[in-house]
């Protein structure tokens, strides 16, 4: 009797246990599903939007086979090969970053400088970099550096003022020179200085001069070659100085210093070579290409509201980049300064401590203010109070700058908080002042975290639409902005305006393609931020 009872009891308990176990499993599955549901639905929508933009259905099956053979298979094989070898994988990642970063840098530099007029950019850059260069040169020759630190920013301001004063006098003579000379001064000379300094620090002054000199000579050779062949020398010079030179330097160093991983350098070239080879084969045999909307026309032409095949978003892309770039110049120094004050300077108690608490609460509230409200602020500030024109770059950048200010402050604060206090104490112990500690110890440690936060803020700003609509930035313009006070347009605004166009080739074609361009810009920024975070985030 007794044994029977205990067995039935045991059975009951084990059923209850099993039920409980099942409940736990089901709960976990539900949690996983909930975590994934947002991500999966977004991926499905992204897939829809990219299918509309790329139109893979219109390509012949042979097209897919060709690219499978030339592009997908070799790249996949190389990736699998690199996966198992950490050294190769690391070099491969570095090579990818160098090649595509260099390409992107050259295109962006050329597009931005071209739309702002290379002569103007050169004039201002020349006058604002000459005085600090003189100060730095003086700094090298003297032991007493008390005065040179503050002199650098002061000299930049002086240079800017001189440039503004002399602009009318100088602009005429500079305008006589060929366009490529401006790009040579803007891109090739800094590239030569950079390569020269890097080489000099590694292998002595003489090698540095040789390396820098060869970059200059190479740039001149490229210019001469393109003039002889009758093409515009400006873009080749930029491509040489902002892509070939820095990428070549990074790759060459990888090959020289890293015998284990040097195969990884081939990664990006497998990809690029596969694409070119595929295009050659497709062209040779007349294989049906897809009727994609992601064409050079989209990237290089201006908008056409009637014919989808002529519609492009070049002015919008360049406008977005200029607005966001100028916004960074306006907002980042202020945001980083405010974060430094709150983390490093503000006392915990007393009147100033209260002020600091008030500032913190205020910043977290500002982060929660809807972006349309910032639009109203921008409208009142830039249009009514300062009397600027409608929809100019300055107003747009200023409005977005105010919007991202709290994000920059909070992320910089986090980065500063992550710097261990022992480093500060050590620096103070050696007699360094507060500012010296900050500049030489704390800020260098906090750079990766700050960079991550600021890049994320840029990614947020490039997609912002509502404040730009409120301050009446034009939706469609046919040329990129020609200066900071010229009217601009931005990529998300064009998507907003064109979403009302019900023609199928717009609704399921050009607009998704423009959205893909915007998404790629945003994802690139996010990926950069995540890479920086993962690379430097584990140190402390």
């Amino acid at each position: 009797m007794a044994t029977e009872e205990s067995t039935s009891d045991g059975l009951g308990r084990s059923t209850a246990l099993r039920l409980q176990h099942l409940k736990g499993r089901l709960f976990e599955v539900a949690l996983v599903a909930a975590t994934l549901v947002g991500i999966v639905s977004l991926l499905a929508l992204f897939a829809q939007i990219s299918i509309d933009a790329f139109q893979p259905g219109s390509a012949s099956p042979t097209w897919f086979l060709v690219y499978l053979g030339t592009l997908v298979a070799p790249t996949a094989a190389f990736t699998l090969y690199a996966r198992r070898r950490p050294a190769v994988r690391e070099t491969n990642a570095k090579a990818f970053a160098a090649v595509f970063g260099g390409l992107l840098l050259s295109f962006v530099t050329y597009a931005v400088v071209d739309s702002l007029s290379p002569y103007d950019v050169f004039t201002y850059v020349f006058f604002t970099s000459l005085p600090p260069a003189i100060v730095v040169a003086y700094d090298r020759t003297t032991d007493d550096r008390t005065f040179t630190g503050p002199a650098i920013p002061a000299s930049i301001v002086v240079g800017l003022a001189v440039a503004a004063l002399l602009y009318d006098v100088v602009r005429g003579p500079i305008g006589i020179a060929a366009e490529w000379i401006m790009y040579f001064g803007l891109v090739t000379v800094p590239a030569a200085l950079l390569i020269g300094t890097l080489t000099a620090s590694r292998r002595g002054r003489r090698s540095g001069v040789v390396a820098g000199g060869s970059v200059i000579v190479g740039g001149l050779a490229v210019a001469v070659a393109s003039i002889v062949t009758g093409t515009n020398a400006a873009f080749p010079v930029v491509l040489f100085s902002a892509f070939v030179v820095p990428t070549g330097y990074v790759l060459w160093r990888s090959v020289r210093t890293d015998p284990e991983g040097r195969v990884g350098v081939a990664g990006p070239f497998v990809l690029l070579g596969g694409t070119l080879l595929g295009a050659a084969v497709v062209g040779q045999f007349g294989i049906q290409n897809p009727d994609t909307f992601l064409t050079p026309t989209l990237l290089l032409e201006s908008w056409d509201g009637l014919r989808a095949n002529n519609a492009g978003v070049y002015p919008q892309i360049v406008g977005s980049i200029i607005i966001v770039g100028f916004m960074a110049v306006l907002a980042f120094p202020v945001g980083i300064g405010a974060a430094i004050y709150l983390e490093e300077y503000a006392p915990d108690s007393g009147l100033r401590g209260r002020l600091a608490t008030l500032l913190e609460i205020n910043i977290s509230n500002l982060a929660g203010v809807p972006s349309v409200v910032y639009g109203l602020l921008g409208l009142a500030l830039f249009r009514r109070t300062l009397g600027f024109g409608t929809g100019i770059v300055f107003s747009a950048a200023g409005t977005l700058g105010l919007l991202i200010l709290p994000i920059v402050i909070v992320s910089t604060q986090e980065a500063l908080r992550a710097v261990p206090d022992a480093l500060r104490q050590g620096s103070y112990g050696m007699g360094a002042s507060r500012w010296q500690t900050l500049r030489e110890v704390v800020l260098p440690e906090a750079i990766p975290g700050t960079l991550t936060g600021t890049i994320l803020a840029l990614a947020r700003a490039i997609g912002e639409t509502a404040p730009l609509v409120i301050i009446a930035v034009a939706t469609t313009k046919y040329s990129p902005p020609s200066g900071l006070f010229s009217s601009a347009t931005a990529l998300p605004l064009q998507i907003f305006a064109a979403s009302a166009n019900a023609k199928p080739e717009f609704r399921h074609g050009v607009v998704p393609a423009a959205a893909v361009v915007l998404l790629i810009l945003m994802l690139l920024m996010n990926a950069t931020a995540i890479v920086i975070r993962n690379k430097y985030g584990r140190e402390h």
């Binding site: 736990g24 509230n365 409120i470 998507i495």
Partner: protein
């Protein structure tokens, strides 16, 4: 003689260093104070024109009017806009709050380090996608897909707008809730296990209740974000302000409507820039919106501060 002049020079220099340091300190303090200036600027910018609007249109008519038709009928009743905002907010909250909390529980209690390192950034992408793209996807992909299921759905409707707003506020709930859940001390979990609880019981009956205030804060912030969301609702929900339908609640989702933010975009997009009560109504709407979100944010901050002090 020479040593004396040296000394004077070095004294002068150290005096300069002190002044330099003080100047730098003042400069960055000015940067921090600028954030207060921004807040004051927002309040001034909004209140000036909003007050001018309310001197022309009585606040009673504004807050109790049931028709918003600024251009045609000169009706400035904000209730239809508040109703549109509420519909989107409630509906997106129904989607995002449970999903966000579940994701937070998974990330904090169940996920392995590797899964977390992949899932967390992917969830954050949900909040990083530009809202125009969300609006476009709602209009062009979600609405046609749902039209097959609910034929009464309009081209512009509250349902697809709420879905995308719900998706974009998930990370707000999940990341702040996850911080609150991770802040629950491990000793509480160990205590639960020691009493023979399963992981399910520990998660639902110990960890989540202990983090209630943080979770509530995340909910309030997410709802405040949904209220302020602009482009997605403008593009997907349309421009026709409606009072809510009773008792057919589903009709509220199927019909188009207009939120406070969408009304502001509509006014800004119109040509009549700069003058008139319609233009000033935009600032009155902005003031309303700012007041609502500010109240919610302050409330969330207060709740959050309380929970920080607990452990």
């Amino acid at each position: 003689m020479s040593s004396e002049s040296n000394e004077t020079a070095s004294l002068q220099r150290s005096g300069f260093v002190v002044r330099k340091e003080r100047l730098y300190g003042r400069l960055i303090a000015a940067c921090a104070v600028l954030t207060i200036v921004v807040t004051v600027g927002i309040i001034l910018a909004l209140s000036g024109r909003a007050l001018s609007f309310w001197s022309q249109i009585s606040p009673i008519a504004y807050f109790t009017g049931t028709s918003w038709s600024p251009v045609i009928a000169q009706n400035y009743g904000v209730l239809p806009l508040i109703s549109g905002t509420l519909i989107v907010t409630v509906c997106s909250a129904v989607i995002a709050l449970p999903i966000g909390l579940a994701a937070a529980v998974y990330l904090s209690e169940y996920a392995s380090d590797k899964a977390r390192s992949i899932l967390k950034p992917s969830l954050e992408i949900l909040a990083g996608v530009p809202t125009v793209i969300y609006g476009y996807m709602a209009l062009v992909y979600i609405t046609p897909a749902f039209k097959g299921v609910f034929p009464s759905l309009r081209t512009f409707n509250a349902l697809s707008a709420s879905i995308v707003v719900g998706i974009m506020i998930i990370p707000m709930v999940s990341s702040i809730s996850e911080d609150a859940l991770s802040a629950v001390p491990d000793s509480l979990r160990q205590g639960g296990y020691g009493l023979g609880s399963t992981k399910f019981d520990v998660s639902t009956k110990i960890v989540v209740p202990s983090a209630t205030s943080g979770i509530v804060a995340s909910y309030v912030l997410a709802i405040s974000r949904a209220i302020g969301e602009t482009m997605a609702v403008t593009m997907a929900m349309g421009m026709s302000p409606q009072m809510p339908y009773f008792p057919d609640l589903f009709r509220n989702l199927a019909e188009s409507g207009q939120t406070i933010t969408a009304a502001m975009v509509q006014i800004a997009n119109a040509d009549s820039l700069g003058t008139g009560p319609t233009y000033e109504a935009m600032f009155a709407l902005g003031m309303t919106l700012f007041a609502i979100t500010l109240t919610m944010n302050v409330f969330a901050e207060l709740v959050r501060r309380r929970f920080r002090e607990e452990y």
